[in-house]
Symmetry: C2
C-alpha cells in the first residue's frame, strides 16, 4: 500500500466539507468533500516555496483541503511511492477522488479557481487575465526561480537534492535577482499590488519569492522602498502565515 495514502488525518466516517476532523485517531485518510463533491488530499511540503504558494492561495479563497505532509528533508518526495503520485517528484500535488493527480502549484490553484471563482485571483477579462499571468510569470522567472537556483546551488542542506551543486550558477543569478527587484520597484511605484489594483496570484508568487531571499542569504535592498512597502502589506494579510 502506498504510504502516502495513509494520512495523519483522522477519518471522520464521512464527508467533512473541507474541514479537518481532528479525532479520534489515525486511519487511512480523511475524506473531504468540497462543493463540487471531490474528495482530495493536498501533498504538502512544509516551508518550501511552492507548497506555500498553494496554501496562501487556498487561505485567500477560504478553501480548506486536508494536507498530507511530505518530508522533503528525508527525501520522501524522491521515493518510488511518491513518484507514483507525481512522476516529476515535486510537491505540492493534489490527489483527486478518482485517483488522478494535479501537480504544479499554479495548476492546482487554477483547478480551484475554476471551481470557486470568487474572489478572483487570476484576473477577470482578457486584459486583467493577461496582466496577472504576465506578472506571475515575471515574478517566477526573474525572482522565484533564480532565488531557488541560488539556494539550491549553495545551501548545505541542499547537497543531496541538488546534485551537483554549481555555485558559479548561483553567483550568476544574484545580479539578475537584484536587477529584477529594481524593475519590480518601479512597477510598484503607482499601484498597490503586483499586477495592479487587486491582490492576485502574482502577489502570492512575489511574497513567497521575497521570503525565499533569506534562506538564499539575499535581501531586498533599502533602495527598493516600493517592494518593501508592498511586501509588508501582503505579509500582513492572514493568508501569509500559510
Amino acid at each position: 500500500m502506498n504510504p502516502f495514502r495513509v494520512g495523519r488525518w483522522a477519518q471522520s466516517g464521512g464527508k467533512t466539507n473541507g474541514q479537518l476532523d481532528p479525532g479520534p485517531g489515525p486511519v487511512d485518510r480523511v475524506v473531504v468533500q468540497l462543493d463540487d463533491g471531490a474528495d482530495m488530499i493536498l501533498y504538502d511540503g512544509g516551508r518550501a516555496p511552492n507548497p506555500r504558494r498553494v496554501r496562501i492561495y487556498l487561505a485567500e479563497k477560504g478553501i480548506t483541503v486536508p494536507l498530507e505532509p511530505v518530508d522533503l528533508g528525508a527525501l520522501q518526495h524522491k521515493s518510488a511511492d511518491f513518484a507514483a503520485i507525481n512522476p516529476v517528484q515535486r510537491v505540492p500535488a493534489l490527489l483527486l477522488d478518482d485517483g488522478s493527480v494535479i501537480a504544479e502549484s499554479i495548476a492546482i490553484c487554477r483547478y480551484f479557481e475554476a471551481l470557486h471563482p470568487e474572489p478572483p485571483l487570476f484576473g477577470v477579462g482578457a486584459r486583467a487575465i493577461a496582466e496577472v499571468e504576465m506578472w506571475n510569470r515575471r515574478l517566477e522567472l526573474n525572482l522565484l526561480f533564480p532565488i531557488a537556483h541560488v539556494f539550491r546551488n549553495t545551501h548545505p542542506a541542499m547537497r543531496e537534492l541538488e546534485v551537483p551543486q554549481v555555485p558559479a550558477w548561483a553567483e550568476a543569478n544574484k545580479p539578475r535577482i537584484m536587477a529584477f527587484l529594481d524593475i519590480l520597484d518601479r512597477a510598484l511605484k503607482d499601484r498597490p499590488f503586483a499586477a495592479g489594483d487587486r491582490y492576485t496570484v502574482a502577489d502570492i508568487t512575489g511574497l513567497v519569492a521575497v521570503d525565499f531571499l533569506k534562506p538564499a542569504k539575499l535581501m531586498v535592498p533599502e533602495t527598493c522602498a516600493n517592494v518593501r512597502r508592498w511586501h509588508a502589506a501582503v505579509s500582513a494579510r492572514p493568508s501569509a502565515s500559510g
Copy 2:
C-alpha cells in the same frame, strides 16, 4: 521616437482585421484591428523558442497579428528602446493600441484565448484547465527551460547574452532533461497529445522544446518512441512552420 514603433509593415490606411497589408511602402506601423477592436503589434524574435510559441498558438487559432522583428543576434532586445516596451528585455511582447504591453508568451496566448476562445487551447472545465496547465508547466520547467540552460551556457553564439556562461550548469541539466523525456514518453503511451485527447498549448511548449534540443546538441533517445510519434504528429500540423 522609439524605433520599435517604426514597423516594417505597411500602413493600410485603416483597419485590416488582423490581416497584413503588403503595400505600398514602409510607414510608422500597420494598424490592425482584431474582433475586439484592438490595434496591436507583436514584437517577435525569429527562431527563439518563446516567440515561436506565440506564433504557433496564433496559427492554431487562425489569428493574424502584425509582427515586428527584434534582432536578438544584434542584442536589440537589450536596448533602452526595447526596455521601454518590456523592462525585462525579453521577446515576445504584445503592444496594445493604448500603448500598454503584455509580455510573457503564455500571458500573450491567454490574452488571445480570452478574446477568441475557439478552438480552446487552455482546456475547458476545471479538470482540463488544470491538466493543461500542469503539462504546460511540466514541459516548461523540466524540458524547455533546462534545454535553454544548456544552450545558453554552452553555445558560442550566446557568449554575449549569457554572462557568464556556466558550462557546469549546462552539464547538470542534461540528465534532468533525459529523465523527463522518459516521464513524458510514459505519459504519451496512451494518449495522442501532451495533456490528453486534444491538442493544447502544452503541445506547443513541448514541440518548441523538443526542436530546441538540436541547437543545444541534444536529441530525443531512440527509446522514447512515444515522444517521437507525438513530435512527428505535432510537427506535421501547418502551425508548426510558425
